[in-house]
C-alpha cells in the first residue's frame, strides 16, 4: 500500500447461493477522496460496500487495511445503509435514531441523551434537520429519512464513510446538500465511498468512479470512467445512448 491508501481490495469475488455478485474486483481507497460505484441493479455495488464494511464475507480475495486505521479498522468505517433497510415505523424520534450512531462513543453507564445530544443536534444541523429532532421517525418523508441516516453517520467520527444509494428518492435541494456534505468530508481528509444509480451525482462529486457490472468495467476519474461506451457496457443497453466515439477505457 502506498502513502495515503486506507484500504486495498485485491481480486475480490463474492456470490449469493449460485449467483455471482462480484468477480475479481480490485480497488484501493485513499484518504481525502470520493469514490463512486455505478452500475445497474445487481451489479454488486452494495455487495462491495458491505464487503468493505465487513457485513459480507467475500468468497475470494483479500482486504488490507492501513495501519493508521488502528487494530480495529472496521471501527473506523461508517456505513450508511439504503434507507429502506430501516423499519421507520418503530417508536423513536429523530434524535433517538441519530443518537444510536453514538452508542459506542459513550459509556454505557451514562445516559446517552445527556452525553451526546449536542453532537446529535450538530449532526442534524449539518443535514438541515435540527428542527425535526423531536419528530417521530414514521412521519418523515423519504428525503428526510435519508438526511437523518446521514446525520447518524456524521455523529460518529470515522476515516471512511460508505454510503449506499444516498441519492435515491431525494429531491434536488437534498441532492445538493448531500454533495456539499460529501465535499466537506473530503476536505476533512475522509474517504467517502458511495454506491449510486445517479450518474450525474457520481460525475459531480467523485474523484474516481468504479463502473461495475459484477466485474470492473472501468475505474478512474469521472471523465475517463464514465463514457457512453463504459456505461453501455455496464448497463447492457445502448439504445438510449449517443456514442460519439470517445476514447473510453474499457476493461471487459
Amino acid at each position: 500500500m502506498s502513502t495515503g491508501d486506507l484500504v486495498a481490495l485485491t481480486d475480490i469475488s463474492a456470490s449469493y447461493d449460485d449467483r455471482v455478485a462480484l468477480d475479481h474486483v480490485s480497488l484501493t481507497l485513499r484518504a481525502g477522496e470520493v469514490v463512486s460505484f455505478v452500475g445497474p441493479n445487481g451489479a454488486g455495488k452494495s455487495t462491495l460496500l458491505k464487503i468493505i464494511a465487513g457485513h459480507v464475507r467475500p468468497d475470494r480475495g483479500t482486504i488490507t487495511f492501513d495501519r493508521s486505521l488502528g487494530s480495529h479498522p472496521r471501527q473506523e468505517i461508517n456505513y450508511v445503509p439504503q434507507r429502506d433497510k430501516l423499519d421507520w415505523s418503530l417508536p423513536a424520534s429523530v434524535l433517538d435514531l441519530v443518537l444510536m450512531g453514538a452508542y459506542r462513543e459513550t459509556s454505557r453507564w451514562r445516559p446517552l441523551r445527556r452525553e451526546s445530544s449536542n453532537d446529535a443536534l450538530r449532526a442534524l444541523d449539518v443535514v438541515g434537520m435540527r428542527h425535526h429532532a423531536d419528530t417521530q421517525i414514521g412521519r418523515l418523508s423519504g428525503g428526510q429519512q435519508q438526511r437523518v441516516i446521514l446525520a447518524r453517520a456524521l455523529i460518529r467520527p470515522a476515516a471512511i464513510y460508505l454510503l449506499d444509494e444516498p441519492f435515491t428518492g431525494v429531491d434536488a435541494p437534498t441532492e445538493a446538500l448531500f454533495e456539499q456534505v460529501i465535499h466537506s468530508l473530503r476536505e476533512d481528509g475522509k474517504c467517502v465511498v458511495m454506491a449510486t444509480h445517479n450518474l450525474d451525482c457520481a460525475r459531480d462529486v467523485s474523484d474516481r468512479v468504479l463502473v461495475l457490472n459484477r466485474r470492473t468495467v472501468a475505474l478512474g476519474p469521472p471523465a475517463e470512467a464514465l463514457t457512453p461506451v463504459t456505461i453501455a457496457v455496464a448497463f447492457g443497453d445502448i439504445s438510449h445512448l449517443h456514442i460519439h466515439g470517445e476514447d473510453a477505457h474499457v476493461h471487459v
Partner: protein, 301 residues
Amino acid sequence: MYSLSIVGWITEPWQLVFMQHAFLAIMIVGLVCGVVGAFVVLRGMAFVGDAFAHAVFPGIVIAFLLGSSIFIGALVAAAVVSLGIGILSQSERLHEDTAIGVMFAGAFALGIALISSTRSYSRDLTSFQLGNILGVSQTDLLLTAAIAVVVLTVLLIFRREIVLITFDRTLATSLGVHLWRYDQLFLILLALAIVTALQTVGNILVLAMLITPAATARLVADRLPPMLVLSAGIGVVSGICGLYISYYWNVASGAAIVLVATAIFFVVWTFAQAREPLRRWRGASEALPEVADSAMPKAQQ
C-alpha cells in the same frame, strides 16, 4: 352481596396471605413481561414467545417428577431450546421460525408424554397449563422477584445493544455488536420472563402477558421509553384487576388477568383508530417540509 365500602372491597383480599403473595407475584410478572414483551412486539417475535412458553413445559414436568423447583426445570429447558433454535437456524436452508416450530412442538410433546405417564395426568397438566396463582409460596415469590431483578438489571446494562438489534441490525453490525450473542441473551431474558409468569398465569396464557400490554402500549407510544413504562404499567394493572375479578367473581385467575389486558387493548385500539383521522388531518396541516426550510445548511463544522 358485598355491602362493604369501596376501601373494604379493595383491601379485603389483602387480608389473606395467599392473596398478598398472588398480588405481589402478578405485579412482578406484569412488570417484567411488560418490559421484555415490548421488545418481543417490536421485533415481531410473538411466535418465538409462544414457542418458548410451550418449550419450557418438559423442563417443568421433569422438575415436578424429580421433586425439584419448577423454576430451575423451566430455565434448563429454556436454555436447551434457545440454544437448539440458535444452532438449527444457522442452517441456510431453515428459517428461524421453522427451527422454532420444530423445537417447540417436539419439546411440548415430550412434556405431555412425560406427564401422561404419571397417575394424576389431567390435574397436573391443567395446573401447569393454567398456572396456580393462589399457590404462590413465599419462596416462589422471592425467586420470582430475584429473576425479575436479574432480567431488568441485564436489560438495563445491555439496553443499547438490545435496542440496536431491535431497531437496526445493520447499524448494530457496523458498531461491532455481535448479533448472535445478543440474540441469545435476549432469548434467555425472554425465557426468564416466561418462567416468572408460569406459576401465575400458566404456560398457555403467558404469551398474553408478553404481547398484549406491549401491543397496547405500541398503539399510543411514539418512543421506546414511554412504550416500556406503559407496557409494564398495563401489565401490572391487568394483573391486579384480574385478580380482583377472580377473587370476587370466582373466575380462573389467569384467564381473568388476560381478559382484562385484552379489554384494555381493545379500548385503546378503538381510541387509537378514532384518533388516527384527527392525527392525519393535523399532520397534513403542519406538513413536514420535504426540504429543510432554510434550504442550504451551514457547512459541516
